[in-house]
Amino acid sequence: MIAIIDYGVGNLFSLESSVKKLGFECRVTSERGDIARADRIILPGVGAFGDAAKKLRALGLDNTIKREALEGKPLLGICLGMQLLFDRSFEYGEHEGLGLISGEVRPLFESVSGLKIPHMGWNSLHILKKNPLFSLVDEGEYVYFVHSYHAVGCGESLSASCFYGVDVTAAVQRENVFGVQFHPEKSGETGLKILKAFGTV
């Protein structure tokens, strides 16, 4: 069973539908027991980092997620959920993340000049490193992004980027912890292939 973590941030309807369409059993939940029982975890998220991190902590889910991930359970962070995997973010102040992947989250406008913010739309993936999430996907396939902040200083964990004025972190991986900046549940067939790969890692 895949646990999709519901912590009051964003719309989980499409994510749940896409995972179910692929034939995986899943549960949208904020219960620690469900997360412990699940064999995979998806951490979604839309909105502001500080608020999301606070909600995750208020539900006591930060430690649960960290523990499960450190014990080896596959974890996929999507969009803001990916950003939460890092050490910290500078979105309206400075906020601590889960620290599962090293790096930090900074405003896109610091790196990109003259381009529209948010970075919204379909951008092509440049795969930098073998990542099980991309086992069914080819270099250059398009995925759907919507974000105004991006992860920098990801070091060895950086596994794919896309180009938007600069190379923007599109995907990261450290062992069983995966993160994607784009929305696989909104990225058509390519997105479904990525979710399918996560369901079988």
């Binding site: 719309n11 499409s14 369409k21 529209k116 970075h119 919204m120 739309g121 379909w122 951008n123």
Partner: protein, 251 residues
């Protein structure tokens, strides 16, 4: 590279797509779910649904349609029509919409843009603006383009961006329905004025119109309705041609 988006727009009344009946290759199909699936597998980058129902019953049907679409189609969905309050945002977001487009509701209550952006994030709030020339100036029209509000269009999109809108759809009343091409001079002014994605609407009649659009103005997307519904333009053909012309598209 970020691809230019091609977006079919579906007007839904009482649970059915208006003007859907002659859709190419499908006899008498005006079921929004069937059309949405067909567009998604046919290369559309996003779908826009406008609820043009006035009745309570029709609104309920629209919700059911949206949910069914969101269960089966995994590309971004923008929903508009009758969005006047935060509750309206909530109602369509819960049915699987990713972005909510607000038009007359924002003219009546301009604070709605900022309130929605704070609650749901900028990426979720789309300003839809109906623009028409009056005495050589671009003005905002309300009520489906029937009423001149006297508001300057360029000031209005700037205000929307400042308030937190994450995207703007500009529909030119002067070129809408004529199929003579997009309103490039007007779109140029809008693109100059804001730093958020701009979606061009009104006037698409041929593949050449989309080529001209993307070559001449830095818009992010082109929207069309009947040209796609009636099969005058096949989205895959359109995208192949755009690519040949050097326009970045998702194929």
């Amino acid at each position: 590279m970020l691809a230019k988006r091609i977006i079919p727009c579906l007007d839904v009344r009482d649970g059915r797509v208006v003007k859907g009946k002659n859709f190419v290759g499908l006899a008498d199909v005006d079921d929004p779910v069937t059309l949405a699936e067909r567009y998604s597998s046919g290369g559309a980058d996003e779908l826009v649904f406008y609820d043009i129902t006035a009745s309570f019953e029709g609104r309920k049907l629209f919700k059911d349609v949206l949910k069914e679409v969101a269960k089966r189609v995994f590309i971004p969905l923008t929903v508009g029509g009758g969005i006047n309050t935060l509750d309206d945002f909530d109602r369509v977001l819960k049915c699987g919409a990713d972005k909510v487009s607000v038009n007359t509701g924002a003219i009546k209550n301009p604070k709605l843009i900022g309130e929605a952006a704070r609650k749901y994030g900028n990426q979720c709030v789309v300003l839809s603006a109906d623009v028409k020339r009056v005495d050589g100036k671009f003005r905002i029209f309300a009520k489906g383009g029937r009423e001149d509000t006297g508001i300057d269009a360029i000031q209005w999109v700037k205000f929307a961006e400042k308030s937190g809108a994450g995207e703007v759809v500009v529909n030119s009343i002067d070129t809408d329905g004529v199929k003579g091409g997009f309103d490039i001079p007007m779109l140029k002014e809008v693109v100059e004025a804001v730093n958020i994605p701009v979606v061009a609407s009104g006037g698409a009649g041929s593949i050449e119109h989309f080529i001209d659009l993307f070559k001449e103005v830095d818009v992010d997307a082109g929207l069309g309705a009947s040209v796609f519904h009636f099969g005058e333009i096949d989205i895959r053909d359109l995208k192949s041609r755009l690519k040949e012309e050097g326009v970045e598209v998702r194929l």
